[in-house]
C-alpha cells in the first residue's frame, strides 16, 4: 500500500509538471461551455436580406419596415437588376431576397390578392428554410392586420407547452455531451498516452522489473486521471449552473455515481489502447479516432440520432457515451430517479466490465 501511494505520487508529479497540458485540460471544458453556450446557435440573427422593391407603395414599405425591425434580418442596400442579385448571392453577400412586384398594393386593394417572391440561398438548406418561415410569418402578420375585423369560424386552437426548458435555452442539449467528451479525453487519451510513453521511453522496463506488482504500475497511472476527471466534471457542473443557468434537477449523488461508472469504462478503454499500441502517436490517434469521433457522432448531442440510417443507429448502441448521455440527460435535466434509467445503467455496467476484462487480459508484463 505504501509503495502504491509512492507510485501514485510519482504520477501526480508527472501530471503537474506539464503545465501546458494541465492548462488545456481545464481550458477545454471552459472553452466548450463558452462556445456552445454563447456563440454556437442555430437561432437566426442578422441574416443579410436584400429587398427588391419594384412597387414602392405603402404596403411594400410597411412590410419592409417590419423586416428591418426584426432581429432576424439586417437589410442590404437595394440592387436594381437581376444580374446584381445573382452576383450578390454568388459572393455570399446576402442570404435571401424579398421581391415585391410593381403595383403590389393596388393588387392587394383591388383583387384582394397580391404576390411576393422570396429567393433563398439554399446552399445552407436549414437557414434557407428558417428564413423563409420567418419572412412568411412577417408577411402573414401584415395580412392578418389587414383583415383584423374578420373572425374565422370553426377554429382549432393549439395550446403549446414546452417541457423542461420553457425558455428554450439552447445550451441544455449539449451539456451532457460536453461532459462525456471531456471525461473521455482525460481518461482515455491521457491514460493510454502516459502508459505508452513509458514504453516508448524505455522506462517501462525499469518499472516492470521492480518488485512492485505490474498491475499496480498501471493502476497507479489511472488514479491521477480519475481524480482529474472528477475535478473536471465538477467544474463543468459549476459552469453550467452558474454561467449558463442550467439547473441540476435530479439527485446529485446519482449523477456522480453514474459518472464514476462512465469514467471507469473510459479508463479501461484507455488501458486497452495502451496494451495494443507501442507509440504515443498511435495511441493518441487511436483514442481520438476510436473514441472521440464516435462520441461526437453517435451520442446525439450534436447530430440527431434519429435521422441517421439504420445501420449507423445500430452501431451507436455499442458506444458507451451514448448510454451515459441518456443517463445524464434524464437525471440532470429531467430530474428522473434511478427507476427510469436502470436499464441504461445496466448496459453501461456491462460494457465497463467487458472493457475491463479484456484490457486486463491483454495486459502483458513482458515487453516485446
Amino acid at each position: 500500500m505504501q509503495q502504491f501511494l509512492v507510485f501514485v505520487r510519482k504520477e501526480f508529479h508527472h501530471v503537474f509538471r506539464d503545465k501546458r497540458t494541465l492548462l488545456i485540460l481545464f481550458g477545454l471544458p471552459v472553452m466548450q461551455i463558452l462556445l456552445f453556450g454563447f456563440a454556437l446557435t442555430t437561432e437566426i440573427r442578422n441574416a443579410r436580406i436584400l429587398i427588391v422593391d419594384d412597387a414602392r407603395d405603402i404596403a411594400s414599405q410597411q412590410i419592409t419596415q417590419q423586416v428591418a425591425a426584426s432581429t432576424y434580418f439586417s437589410l442590404e442596400k437595394n440592387a436594381l437588376t437581376h444580374d446584381d442579385l445573382y452576383k450578390a448571392f454568388r459572393e455570399g453577400k446576402i442570404k435571401c431576397a424579398l421581391i415585391f412586384p410593381p403595383h403590389f398594393n393596388d393588387d392587394l386593394l383591388h383583387f384582394n390578392k397580391a404576390q411576393v417572391q422570396i429567393i433563398a440561398d439554399a446552399s445552407d438548406p436549414n437557414t434557407a428554410k428558417t428564413l423563409t418561415n420567418y419572412l412568411s410569418a412577417i408577411i402573414g402578420d401584415y395580412q392578418k392586420r389587414l383583415n383584423s375585423t374578420a373572425v374565422l369560424p370553426y377554429r382549432i386552437e393549439p395550446e403549446l407547452r414546452m417541457l423542461y426548458n420553457p425558455e428554450l435555452n439552447g445550451s441544455l442539449n449539449f451539456i451532457p455531451g460536453v461532459i462525456a467528451l471531456v471525461l473521455m479525453i482525460v481518461c482515455t487519451t491521457l491514460t493510454s498516452v502516459s502508459i505508452v510513453r513509458e514504453k516508448e521511453m524505455g522506462t517501462m522496463e525499469i518499472l516492470l522489473v521492480s518488485p512492485f506488482k505490474p498491475i499496480y504500475v498501471i493502476l497507479s497511472k489511472a488514479v491521477p486521471y480519475l481524480a482529474l476527471s472528477l475535478l473536471n466534471f465538477i467544474l463543468i457542473l459549476l459552469l453550467s449552473v452558474y454561467l449558463l443557468g442550467v439547473p441540476i434537477r435530479g439527485n446529485i449523488f446519482l449523477l456522480f455515481g453514474e459518472s464514476t461508472l462512465f469514467i471507469i469504462s473510459c479508463l479501461s478503454f484507455g488501458l486497452l489502447i495502451s496494451g495494443l499500441t507501442n507509440s504515443q502517436q498511435t495511441a493518441m490517434l487511436v483514442s481520438m479516432m476510436g473514441m472521440m469521433l464516435p462520441t461526437i457522432l453517435f451520442t446525439g448531442f450534436l447530430f440527431p440520432l434519429e435521422n441517421m440510417p439504420v445501420p449507423l443507429q445500430v452501431i451507436s448502441n455499442i458506444i458507451p457515451a451514448k448510454w451515459y448521455y441518456i443517463i445524464v440527460k434524464a437525471v440532470m435535466l429531467k430530474g428522473m430517479g434511478f427507476a427510469t434509467i436502470w436499464k441504461e445503467t445496466l448496459v453501461l455496467i456491462g460494457m465497463t466490465l467487458f472493457l475491463l476484462t479484456i484490457s486486463l487480459k491483454r495486459f502483458k508484463i513482458r515487453l516485446a
Binding site: 454556437l40 390578392k113 408577411i139 417541457l163
Partner: protein
Amino acid sequence: MRTLKFLLRKEFRQIFRNKSLLPIIFILPMIQLLIMPLAADFDVKNINLSIVDNDHSAYTSRLIAKIGSSGYFHIKGYQSSYKEALRLVEKDRADIILEIPAGFERNLIRESSQKVFLAADAINGIKGSLGSAYLSSVLSDFNDQLRIQWVQPQKFSPQATIDIATVNWFNPLLNYQFFMVPGILVILVTMVGGFIAALNIVKEKEMGTIEQINVTPVKKWQFIAGKLIPFWLIGMFDFTIGLLIARFVYGIIPLGQLGTLYLFLSVYLLALLGFGLLISTYSDNQLQAMFVAFFFIMIFILMSGLFTSVDNMPVWARWLSRMTPVTYFIDVVRMVILKGSGLADIKNQLFIELGFAVVLNGWAILNYRKTS
C-alpha cells in the same frame, strides 16, 4: 536544393514506414466522408409523437391520419392519459404529446372553436419548437379543410391574401448533404494536416534526433520545408480523394472551377501546416503538442460556421471566427462548389488566407531555434 531533396526523401520514408500513420492519412478521411454526411443531418424530421385522444370521434381519427401521413411524425402510441404519455417523454421515447380533449368534435361545431393541447420536450430547443410548429401547421391545414366543408367558399376571396412564392437557389431540393459534404471535406484536410504536422517536429525533439539534425549544416528553412512539403502533398491528395467521393457517392459536381478550388487549397494548406509547425516549436513533447493542437482545431472547427452560421453569433464570436483560417476555406469551398463562384468572387478570402500563411510560417521559422 540537394539537401532539401535528401530531407524530403527522409520524411517520406518515415511516413511510409509508420504503419499506424498510413491508415490515418489515407483511409480515415474516406471513412469520415462516407459516414459524417449521413450522420450530420440536422433536418427536423422523425418526431416521435404520443397521442392522447379523449374524444375518439370521426374528426380525431381523420386528424390523426393526416398527422401520420405528413411524413414528419412517427406516432409512437395512443396513451389513455397525459400522465402516461409524459412517462414516454421522460424515457425519451416521445418528443411531443398531442392531447385532444373529450367533446372535441361536438364543441368545434357547436361553439365554433376548440382547444387542443401540445406539450413538447424542449431540452433540444430546435426540435421542440420546430416540431411543434410543424404540428401546428398540420392542425391549421386540417382546420382549413374542415372549414371548407362547413362554409361555402366565395368566388372572390373576401380577405386580402398575399401569395408567397419561394425559390431556393443553388440547392433547389434543399438537400442537406450538399451543404455538409463540402464542409466535411475541409475538416478532413484540416485534421490530417493540422494534427500530424504538429506532432512531427516534436517527435524529433522528444526522441532527441533533432540534435543530430541541428549539428548538421542543414539550414532552418530547409529543415522546415522538408517537414512541410510532404504533408502539403498529402493534404492535396486527401482533398482530391474527397472530391472524387463527393462526385461519385453524393453526386456533387462543383459548379465553379477546380483550379480556383485547388489554388485556395494550396494556400490554405500552407497556413494550416504553418500553424502545426508553430505548435510543435512551442511544445516539449507529443502529448502537449497534440493537446494544444486539439484545443485550437476544436475552436477552429466550431467557429468556422461548419454547423452553425457565423452570422448568428454575437459580435465577439464573429471576430473570433474571422481570426480562424478554417472559416475562410469552408466559405470558399461552399461558394465554389455550390454557387460556382469564381476567382473574382473569392479574392478577399484568398488574400486573408495568404496573410495567415505568411504570418504563421514566419512566426514558426522565427521561433524554431537550432539551439535549445
